[in-house]
């Protein structure tokens, strides 16, 4: 019998993968999003179309890529196009259903920072920067955000808006853009924007997680839905597929 106890990270990845419907077109970032998207493809969503910003369309990697442009992505893709094309014809033109993002900081209106901690000119921490995120946040039909819930990451106001959720005051999202963040999936639960104010609101916790725990890891006065749901724990199948995927990946990256 496989081990069915699971970690908070596994819970997060499985929850995120369940948000991807079969047949959806998904623009994927490296790391946690890539793990969740490929888990979805290998379980309930075999027809999920994965697009990476390196220009690989409809890729079906056997192992998770270390970089956004690993040969595994190119060799298993339906098509590979140039970087100007992937951003202009495919993302900006609205051909992506779901964008998947992570960040170093998120604020109460779903704005994301992946640029600097501290002032831009004299940063305490210089982060990698925008990459494809601003356009994914703008143009994807909807955006799923995935990151671990830590007080230093869930801040009232981000130090730098790299990618727009709903703007600094919750009303700054241009009408011509996609819907923006629809769920922020963490290792503790799920936050969704309030339909009226766009403020992120706790709508679900993972099994065994208390609402108070989530509040303690949020650096603003977190709103909580009147009825907080409890997510379903990972199935044995999901855990087995995820662990095999990660094991294949680790072996491939050691070579």
């Amino acid at each position: 019998m496989p081990d069915t106890t699971y970690t908070a990270d596994e819970m997060m990845t499985v929850t995120a993968s369940r948000h991807l419907a079969d047949g959806a077109v998904c623009f994927v970032g490296i790391g946690l999003p890539s793990e969740a998207a490929n888990l979805a493809r290998l379980t309930h969503a075999p027809n999920l179309v994965l697009i990476y910003e390196s220009g690989t369309i409809g890729t079906r990697p056997l192992t998770l890529p270390l970089s956004i442009g690993d040969d595994e992505l190119a060799m298993t893709a339906l098509s590979v196009v140039s970087v100007p094309e992937i951003f202009a014809y495919w993302l900006q033109a609205g051909r992506i259903d779901v964008g998947f993002l992570s960040a170093a900081q998120i604020d109460r209106f779903g704005n994301l920072n992946s640029t600097v901690i501290g002032p831009y000119e004299r940063p305490q921490v210089r982060l990698p920067g925008a990459g494809g995120a601003p356009e994914i946040a703008a143009a994807a039909g909807q955006v799923l955000v995935m990151l671990r819930q830590k007080k230093r990451m869930f801040v009232g106001t981000v130090d730098f808006v790299t990618s727009v959720g709903f703007g600094r005051d919750g009303t700054g999202r241009p009408a011509s853009w996609g819907a923006g963040p629809t769920a922020v999936i963490t290792d503790l639960g799920i936050l969704r924007p309030d339909p009226a104010t766009h403020e992120l609101t706790l709508t679900a916790v993972h099994p065994g997680v208390e609402v108070e725990q989530v509040r303690n890891e949020t650096d603003w006065n977190l709103r909580v839905a009147p009825e907080v749901e409890v997510t379903e724990q990972p199935t044995t199948d999901e855990l087995v597929v995820l662990r095999e995927l990660k094991q294949r990946t680790e072996e491939a990256h050691r070579r």
Binding site: I30, G31, E53, S54, G55, T56, P65, L66, S67, I68, G69, D70, D71, L73, A74, M75, S79, V80, V81, S82, V83, P84, F87, A88, L91, Q92, T115, Y120, P123, V125, R126, L127, P128, G129, A130, G131, G132, A133, P134, E135, A137, A138, A139, F160, V161, T162, S163, V164, G167, G172, R173, P174, S176, W177, A252, H253, R254, R255
Partner: protein, 313 residues
């Protein structure tokens, strides 16, 4: 400032006209010496795949200085050039070690001004792609829909807004990027100097067509280009200035069909580059301590670049 060896083409208005001069086969050492001058704007492109590392090492060996370097992803290649003191300014959109973490030499330069302060000019990938495409098209700027509401525009003078002349929609305009020199690595050149590449081809075509001069290193020189893969990209010989045959010239990046990405090296680079002394030691040994890329490959060891597997069919 035109470096020695420049001078193909002529500038008429804002458009650069290249004469139909065929690419010259040369050594990488001569190409870098002749075509890259101190202070030049240099784009060494390749999106994870086909990154021209051998050329980056040659720039370090020849102690080029005050370069303005552009790349969507500075990657380990610019981390090495920044740490070695070649760079005055970096124009980029994502400055990390892919899948691993930080570029420690880039961070040390930005956070602590070591080995000297550098300027940064920061965009998104889509913004950089639009800038190169505008450069290739001979237009003054590119247009895209994002950037509104982000803090990037406030810190980057090459991002402005404009109203669509047809609908009035507010759009972002980004200044064209037209480097003095584009440097890329490709799989093939034929004897006439036509360049063929496939797999993930990033923005290399745009970078070369938008640049005044270009250097292309290749895995192999063939009698005739043989289209492989579904997205074979050709740069005609007369769009390229110099071609050098440099097998595995993209290690630790990869060339589809010739090598696989040395992911282990990228992981190891995190440790090598974290500490200034360890970095200097590595550069002394692997770059300045060898004559050319063949010497580097001997140091690294043949086992590090196992052959890639060609796609079925």
């Amino acid at each position: 400032m035109a470096p020695p060896g420049a001078g193909r083409g002529s500038e008429v208005g804002s458009v650069w006209h290249t004469d139909a001069v065929l690419a010259q086969f040369t050594t990488l050492r001569e190409a870098v010496a002749d075509l890259i001058g101190d202070g030049d704007t240099v784009a060494m492109e390749g999106f994870t795949h086909l990154i021209p590392f051998a050329a980056g090492h040659e720039v370090i060996r020849q102690e080029k200085r005050d370069l303005v370097v552009s790349r969507l992803t500075p990657d380990v290649i610019y981390d090495q050039m920044i740490g070695a003191g070649c760079v005055r300014k970096v124009i980029f959109s994502w400055g990390g070690n892919p899948g691993v973490g930080s570029l420690h030499r880039l961070r040390d330069a930005v956070e602590n001004g070591y080995p000297h302060p550098i300027e940064i000019e920061e965009h998104s990938h889509a913004g950089m792609a639009a800038r190169y495409a505008a450069g290739a098209a001979g237009l003054p700027f590119g247009v895209l829909r994002a950037y509104a509401g982000t803090d990037l525009a406030a810190h980057t003078s090459t991002i402005r807004t404009l109203a669509c002349p047809f609908t009035g929609e507010e759009l972002a305009a980004v200044a064209a990027l037209s480097p003095d020199v584009a440097v890329i690595h490709a799989q093939q050149a034929d004897r006439a100097g036509n360049i063929g590449m496939w797999g993930i081809t990033g923005v290399q075509k745009e970078a070369v067509l938008g640049a005044r001069r270009s250097i292309v290193t290749v895995e192999e020189v063939v009698e005739e280009l043989v289209p492989l893969g579904s997205n074979f990209v050709v740069l005609p010989s007369w769009t390229v200035t110099a071609v050098a045959h440099v097998p595995h010239g993209c290690h630790p990046s990869y060339a589809l069909g010739f090598s696989t990405r040395d992911n282990r090296f990228y992981v190891e680079w995190d440790e090598i580059s974290r500490d200034r002394a360890t970095f200097d030691e590595w550069i002394d040994q692997y770059v300045n301590g060898v004559d050319d890329h063949a010497g580097y490959l001997r140091m690294v060891g043949e086992s590090r670049f196992e052959p890639g597997h060609l796609r079925d069919g």
